[in-house]
């Protein structure tokens, strides 16, 4: 059951109807039943995997919680008896126990994800090496399935475990409730990657029907449908044509393909997030924001702070900080300080950690060398931009550039869009070599006339589609500018009189029905991030 389908809307209606008539005590049970029904309807074969992750994570959480509690009780009861050294020794023993427990659970959860997602990639590469060495051996390529949402719910489960390990909160005592936390249907398809302390209590509480919330949620769903069906799916044929037949194109045409893919994936993913957030909001649940207008960013690092925010923040808390503050990296920094001086010694652990994070973000998207290259591309640009910041500042001062005016901000935003679009060659290219070839042919062929000779109209976007895209793009831009200025659009619309309000709602619905790109039975294509 695709998110963007009549079936899903009907499913949501049943879920919400049932939720609001259900007795308060059973509301979370209803959500659990609906979430597992949604999962079964989408990927029945894979339900065992999510149950496996749920059970392992739940049990490990309880064990870690018990160790934390025992430690606190023991230290409290023996506060006056134990010496400082004895306390330290007791804590160290507990940490070792906790580390092993956590490590086992991470190995099970992450091991499953890595096996299903990357085994064939490793096997393929090993086979290529063996074949080059003329060895008559082969690692078998397995017919593996990738369960729905595994890349998202695994990270969610690991985040929970690490937080319990860090004694940030008590573990969940109820397996069924915890199963709901990992499987909540609006975010199982493609996130956002939730934090237990922000989401779980909202799922377990009973929420009553509230007109304003339901109306706002429905509006957000409508907005998500518009992004996905009017923009993302309209750009798809053009993007597919350029990337699948890249050898036929060159120069600006290739660049426009990458630029279009950027906007396709943005409207596709953020549209999906709007639908997820809207569905949850109707039920009275606020799920995390995953996008904050990334195309308004003035640098690539700011772009990544606005794009897929929950993945970035997960990586920051559970990979970046632990690495950058680890004893190993600390030693490395000190060694580098002795060899290369104070500045390099200080920044090396941070840069190395950040580079690893971007590599992981790249590889998280899929098992291909192109994603490794995508991670390296982003890592290099962000490291470069931070390292060269003092140089930029000197140049700006020397040229007396006013950085506070609109034109400078506009230039920075365009520059960011340009650099991000180049990175898209890797994430959408059919392979790493194809991406490199596309980049080469983008910059070595100068063909600006393709912008004016209407040749695009033969590449999947006709004149009518172009007009719709430009118009919808402008709507997106105006909405983005208003949001950047802190204007709450749905609140603003709600303040208007009844006739105007309904004119806006019905107008948006009509635009969606007339200009949306539909397949059979009003179904849409699957979300791009659903495949990651």
């Amino acid at each position: 059951m695709a998110f963007v389908s009549m079936k899903f809307l009907f499913f949501l209606l049943v879920v919400c109807g049932g939720y609001f008539i259900m007795p308060a005590k059973l509301k979370w049970v209803w959500l659990l039943i609906c979430s597992y029904t949604f999962y079964l309807l989408n990927d029945a074969r894979a339900v065992a995997f999510i149950i496996f992750t749920t059970v392992i994570t739940y049990i490990t959480g309880r064990i870690l919680g018990k160790i934390n509690r025992n430690q606190k009780t023991y230290l409290k009861e023996n506060k006056t008896v134990l010496s400082r050294e004895e306390k330290k020794c007791f804590k160290a023993k507990n940490i070792t126990k906790k580390k092993w427990t956590l490590f086992t659970a991470i190995l099970a959860n992450l091991g499953l994800l890595v096996f299903l997602k990357y085994f064939n990639f490793f096997a393929g590469n090993i086979n290529a090496v063996l074949s080059n060495l003329s060895l008559q051996m082969e690692v078998p390529i397995l017919n593996l399935m990738l369960p729905l949402g595994i890349s998202f719910y695994t990270l969610q489960a690991l985040g929970y475990l690490i937080d319990v390990y860090r004694d940030k909160y008590e573990p969940d005592r109820n397996l069924a409730k915890f199963a709901l936390f990992l499987s909540f249907f609006p975010q199982i398809v493609q996130g956002p990657i939730a934090r237990y302390n922000q989401l779980a209590h909202q799922l377990y509480e009973a929420h009553k029907f509230e007109y304003k919330r339901v109306a706002f949620g429905a509006q957000l769903i409508l907005w998500g449908f518009m992004k996905k069906l009017i923009i993302a799916d309209r750009l798809a044929p053009f993007v597919d044509e350029i990337f699948n037949n890249y050898v036929n194109y060159q120069g600006i045409t290739l660049f426009l393909g990458a630029l279009a893919y950027g906007f396709q994936v943005y409207t596709d993913f953020s549209g999906g997030m709007d639908i997820a957030r809207g569905a949850a909001q109707i039920l009275g649940i606020d799920v995390a924001v995953n996008f904050e207008r990334p195309y308004f960013a003035r640098s690539i690092s700011e772009f990544w702070r606005r794009w897929h925010i929950t993945l970035g923040s997960w990586m920051k808390d559970y990979v970046f900080y632990p690495l950058a503050l680890s004893k190993g990296f600390n030693k490395l920094g000190k060694r580098a300080r002795n060899i290369f001086g104070n500045y390099i010694g200080k920044i090396l652990p941070t840069f190395l950690s950040m580079f690893i994070v971007f590599l992981l973000v790249g590889v998280w998207h899929g098992s291909s060398w192109k994603y490794v290259a995508y991670g390296i591309w982003n890592g290099v640009f962000i490291s470069g931009s931070i390292l060269l910041e003092p140089v930029y500042e000197k140049i700006i001062a020397k040229l007396k550039i006013n950085t506070k005016c609109f034109s400078w901000g506009f230039f920075q935003a365009i520059r960011t869009i340009f650099l991000c679009s180049i990175g898209r060659f890797f994430s959408r290219g059919v392979s790493c070599m194809a991406a490199l070839r596309m980049i080469k042919h983008t910059f070595t062929v100068f063909n600006p006339w393709v912008l004016t000779d209407y040749s695009f109209y033969e590449l999947g976007i006709n004149e009518r589609n172009m007009i719709v895209l430009v118009a919808m793009g402008l709507v997106l831009l105006v909405v983005g500018i208003m949001q950047e200025r802190g204007i709450h659009i749905r609140e603003k619309i709600a303040e208007q009189n009844l006739y105007f309000r309904w004119l806006v709602y019905l107008g948006a619905l009509a635009v969606l029905l007339i200009f949306g790109v539909y397949g059979n039975g009003l179904a849409s294509t699957v979300f791009i991030y659903q495949q990651f």
């Binding site: 860090r166 004694d167 940030k168 920051k316 808390d317 970046f320 900080y321 632990p322 950058a324 503050l325 600390n330 920094g333 200080k346 652990p349 941070t350 950690s353 931070i386």
Partner: protein, 77 residues
């Protein structure tokens, strides 16, 4: 201790008025790069060991809270 901390903070970010700010993390004034550098400097200067577990926003939101954290960790050492 306060003077030493202020010196570290002012060197790290001369553009920030640390005595006035109460939401250094919540408002995104200090980014993750600043935090890693700050933790390294605090560890060296005050001979403490700030762990990932201590990286809670409330511990770094203002100067007073940072001092509380430093004192707590010094006590534990």
């Amino acid at each position: 201790m306060r003077e030493e901390l202020m010196k570290i903070l002012e060197e790290l970010r001369p553009d920030v008025e640390f005595e006035k700010e109460k939401k250094l993390i919540d408002d995104g004034i200090l980014d993750s790069f600043d935090i890693v550098t700050l933790v390294g400097d605090l560890n060296d200067t005050f001979d403490i060991d700030i762990n990932v577990e201590d990286l809670q926003p409330e511990n770094f939101n203002c100067v007073d809270n940072m001092l509380v954290l430093i004192e707590k960790l010094q006590d534990e050492e």
